[in-house]
Amino acid sequence: MKVSLKGVRGSIPTTGAETSYFGGHTSCVTVEEKGWLLVLDGGSGMQNVRLPDKSTKRVDILLTHLHLDHLQGLGFFRPLFDPSMEVHIWAPASATQSLHSRISRYLSPPLFPVLIRELPCKLTMHDIANSNFEIGPFTIDSRYVIHPGPTIGYRIRVQDTVLAYIPDHEPALGPGGIINDKKWISGFDLAYRADLLLHDGQYTEEEYKSRNGWGHSGMEDSIKLALFSEVKRLLLTHHDPSHTDTQLNEIYSGLLRNYGNRLSFDMAREGMDIELV
């Protein structure tokens, strides 16, 4: 399973010299296996997604939720405009509106010039919830996680290799933070013993104190979740747009001093390719 990070920034794209190392594109990750392609989220990093090869005629886009930083690249995704392509979009169900209806609010004027019904590809939308499904060689679990609006995380498995993807998540929401009991931790089932966990790490612990309820994690809470879940490796992603490369490196050094002997972790960086076996 090849995991490629196309966008690791949260909230809004941040292009510039100060963010060029970790990257400024918003959330998008590709997962490839045996010619099959999953695209996790459709942030601005989606413009850098390429098909595995010319014979690829199906793409599956798995959205965690429909906030703009996870959707803004969708309208520019070339396979949508290719009549020979089969595109599936999987995203969390809402209690009130279909996925098609909610995505149409973005893919329609005045926000976008092209309507969904005008897209020439063979498009199928899947409203999912706490679901289990298979796409080619991938076995996928989705579970609702704590974040404003319907939001899910994914657990993607190929044989015994597991990738967990929870880029927008606030498991510490509440007066006492993360509850020290595995049954009471949002996202635990998704992350449990994953080979790689890509998890929200938008804020420092200090920043999180004034952003409680905004739907994102303090980095130390993400590390705590990873430790609870016994993951093999954690990548902190969804970097805050205000964090420069210099700041992220400094923050990482501090975290490494405190947790480096207990957990393998790193800051996610745009352009990273990881082969999970």
Partner: protein, 131 residues
């Protein structure tokens, strides 16, 4: 071991912020969480007891009517919510841990998630002021 659904987790986190007693059960009525104000009613701490089966925690209360007669479980709000997945409310008496009669109001509501699945129930105890 499966974690609870986030609707349950968020109800617990909310209960943790409140000054009124809150009890959270699973769909079978097993007590899976109670907050600090509820600890005074139960006479035990959640940290000590952990979750309690419906058989255990339902015997702690003695619900009584105005004449002091024992109320059947089927008439209690939480039991009704677990049965029909609707909110309920009732004012009645309970015998406290020290044998004192206390008039209380109980409001219960079902936890039904985004998918429409019934996940559990919450009971809130109000100290009745119209004694």
């Amino acid at each position: 071991m499966a974690a609870y659904e986030i609707e349950i987790i968020l109800n617990r986190q909310l209960a943790d912020c409140l000054s009124i007693p809150v009890f959270i059960t699973d769909t079978s009525g097993n007590l899976i969480f109670y907050n600090e104000p509820a600890e005074k009613i139960l006479g035990s701490r959640f940290e000590d007891t952990g979750e309690m089966t419906v058989e255990t925690w339902s015997t702690i209360f003695k619900p009584l009517d105005e004449q002091g007669k024992t109320l059947p479980p089927d008439g209690l709000p939480l039991v009704k919510t677990l049965g029909d997945q609707h909110p309920h409310h009732k004012t009645f008496w309970i015998e406290s841990l020290i044998g004192k009669m206390e008039k209380i109001s109980v409001t219960s509501y079902p936890i039904i998630g985004r998918t429409g699945k019934f996940l559990g129930a919450v009971a809130i105890f109000w100290e009745s002021e119209d004694v």
